[in-house]
């Protein structure tokens, strides 16, 4: 597997003295991997993503993104990275949706026909044709998020970096967004890094979860199931297991020990199986 991103014991100090140290363990993202970062408010998730994008420069440690140090040579790799930062409003720059989606390829000097094709493709894929000529300023949160994602996806990047993409978005749009990201991940083998406070989306989108504690320390890494079973670490990071995780933990307390499942389907299956088998038992007996 190819490592796209590698962060090793990186330290960053804000001018006001806030100091973040991403130690504990390496932060690694492989080709095609979907990584979710969880942690409390102010733990440094956004800071870490900014470091990856060369927006901030670390004072210590090692950062590699697509083989370069982003603080020095981000321009070399920026075409291969799609980005959606925490505040979408200020990332939608052009006064018309179509132009905004075309913003990056235009700046990268693509040819006109190529731009037209790329933009129309991504607009079709995201089903936002009806917004093409709209002024972004008046769109709803969900629409803006989609346009932002379109702008990030337009150059078919190898790596997508998204900071809290699900905030302010209604559940249906959120689901669509998750499906879309998973599709892109499958089709183009695009790696995805995202941060969120919405635990229930994590099992739907994450291959790997990183837990960041106050101050930046990376205290956990694993699949969603692994991570959500480490209760002390979670509470240290102000993270709660998704509702279903809590339910299974609660059931265990009451003496019912089932395999933890984090999606509704699996959970219903597990519970139904248990009950049905018990019923059969009692029927048989």
């Amino acid at each position: 597997m190819k490592e796209l991103v590698k962060v090793n014991n990186v330290k960053f100090n804000y001018p006001d003295g806030t100091s973040l140290f991403f130690d504990g363990q390496e932060f690694i993202v492989n080709k095609g991997e979907r990584v979710v970062i969880l942690g409390p408010n102010g733990s440094g998730k956004s800071t870490l993503l900014s470091l990856l994008l060369g927006l901030l420069t670390s004072s210590e440690g090692d950062i590699q993104v697509l083989g370069v140090d982003p603080s020095k040579e981000y321009e070399k790799v920026r075409e291969r990275i799609g980005v959606l930062l925490q505040n979408v409003d200020l990332q939608i720059i052009a006064p018309r949706v179509w132009d905004d989606v075309a913003f990056s390829p235009r700046n990268y000097g693509y040819k006109k026909e190529e731009i037209d094709k790329l933009v129309d493709d991504v607009i079709t894929k995201l089903e936002i044709e009806h917004l093409k000529d709209k002024v972004p300023h008046y769109m709803s949160g969900g629409e803006k998020a989609k346009v932002g994602i379109a702008g990030a996806l337009v150059t078919n990047p190898e790596l997508l970096i998204l900071d809290e993409p699900f905030e302010h978005i209604d559940p249906t749009c959120r689901k669509e967004l998750i499906n879309l990201l998973n599709d892109v991940n499958k089709e183009n083998n695009t790696a995805i890094i995202l941060s969120t406070h919405n635990m229930n989306t994590v099992p739907l989108i994450a291959d790997t979860v990183y837990l960041v504690a106050e101050g930046g320390r990376i205290v956990g890494k694993g699949t969603p199931k692994e991570i959500f079973s480490e209760i002390e670490k979670l509470s240290q990071c102000h993270v709660e297991p998704p509702i279903l995780g809590s339910l299974f933990a609660e059931l265990k307390k009451r003496g019912i020990d089932l395999d933890v499942s984090l999606t509704v389907d699996e959970a219903a299956c597990a519970i139904a199986d248990e009950i049905v088998s018990l019923k059969n038992n009692s029927g048989a007996a």
């Binding site: 006064p95 018309r96 002024v135 300023h137």
Partner: protein, 237 residues
């Protein structure tokens, strides 16, 4: 850079005072004009435009030591009277940060306020003359001309500072022997300014700046007109 970045204590006192008095008069008039509209509504509006001007002054444009003022944009959007109040606030705050003399706030407000005033009216005239489709040209040209005029005023201030003989008083006593036969020489610090070469240097230095601010003004006004046309088209106080 039509802002006066002239240090405190260099310009003669009468000029500084004149700047303050003129500013006070215009300010009083502007406040009177805006009194008809609700104060509570105006304050946040002034606040945000002033803040925008201050923030833009903190983004230096790299190759030339220039920062944009947005004064013409403020004029076009706020109208000359409110823009003048806004500019006074900007000057006051940046002076607090040592970003220009505290005593020259009066003159500064005059110079930058002129930009907003001229910018506003030129924009209205151009729009009427060339038509509504020409919003970029109208605003860009208005900005460039306003800047040229305000810079001329700046040169004029420098020129004016050396023609009045009364300002020597402080200096001539500092060198009693020389001062006796040098009584009509202006402020020692400004004496011998070659206004022509001053103006020439300023022109070359600022030419690029004007052009840049004109272009930026044009793009910004175009952007605003596409996204929030209601902010530009109505006549404002």
């Amino acid at each position: 850079m039509s802002h006066l970045h002239i240090p405190d204590g260099v310009l003669p006192g009468w000029l500084v005072m004149a700047g303050w008095i003129l500013t006070a008069v215009i300010l009083a008039f502007s406040i009177y004009r805006t009194r008809k509209t609700e104060l509570k509504r105006k304050i946040p509006l002034i606040g945000i435009i002033s803040a925008l001007m201050i923030v833009c002054m903190t983004i230096p444009i790299v190759p030339i030591a220039y920062h944009i003022n947005l004064s013409v944009i403020a004029g076009i959007i706020l109208g000359p009277a409110v823009a003048f109040i806004s500019i006074f606030i900007v000057d006051l705050i940046i002076a607090m940060f040592g970003h220009g003399g505290i005593t020259v706030i009066g003159l500064n407000t005059m110079v930058v306020g002129t930009e907003a005033f001229i910018g506003f009216y030129l924009f209205q005239i151009f729009m009427a003359l060339i038509g509504r489709d020409s919003i970029m040209w109208s605003s860009g040209l208005a900005a460039v001309i306003a800047l040229i005029i305000s810079t001329s005023i700046l040169v004029g201030i420098i020129y004016a500072s050396q023609i009045n003989p009364e300002i020597i008083i402080g200096i001539e006593e500092s060198n009693p022997t020389e001062a006796t036969h040098d009584a009509h020489v202006p402020n020692e610090l400004i004496k011998g300014v070659n206004v022509k070469s001053f103006a020439k240097t300023l022109l070359i230095l600022l030419g690029i700046g004007w052009l840049l601010e004109g272009i930026i003004t044009a793009f910004v006004i175009k952007y605003v007109s596409r996204v929030r046309p209601d902010l530009i088209l109505p006549q404002r106080v």
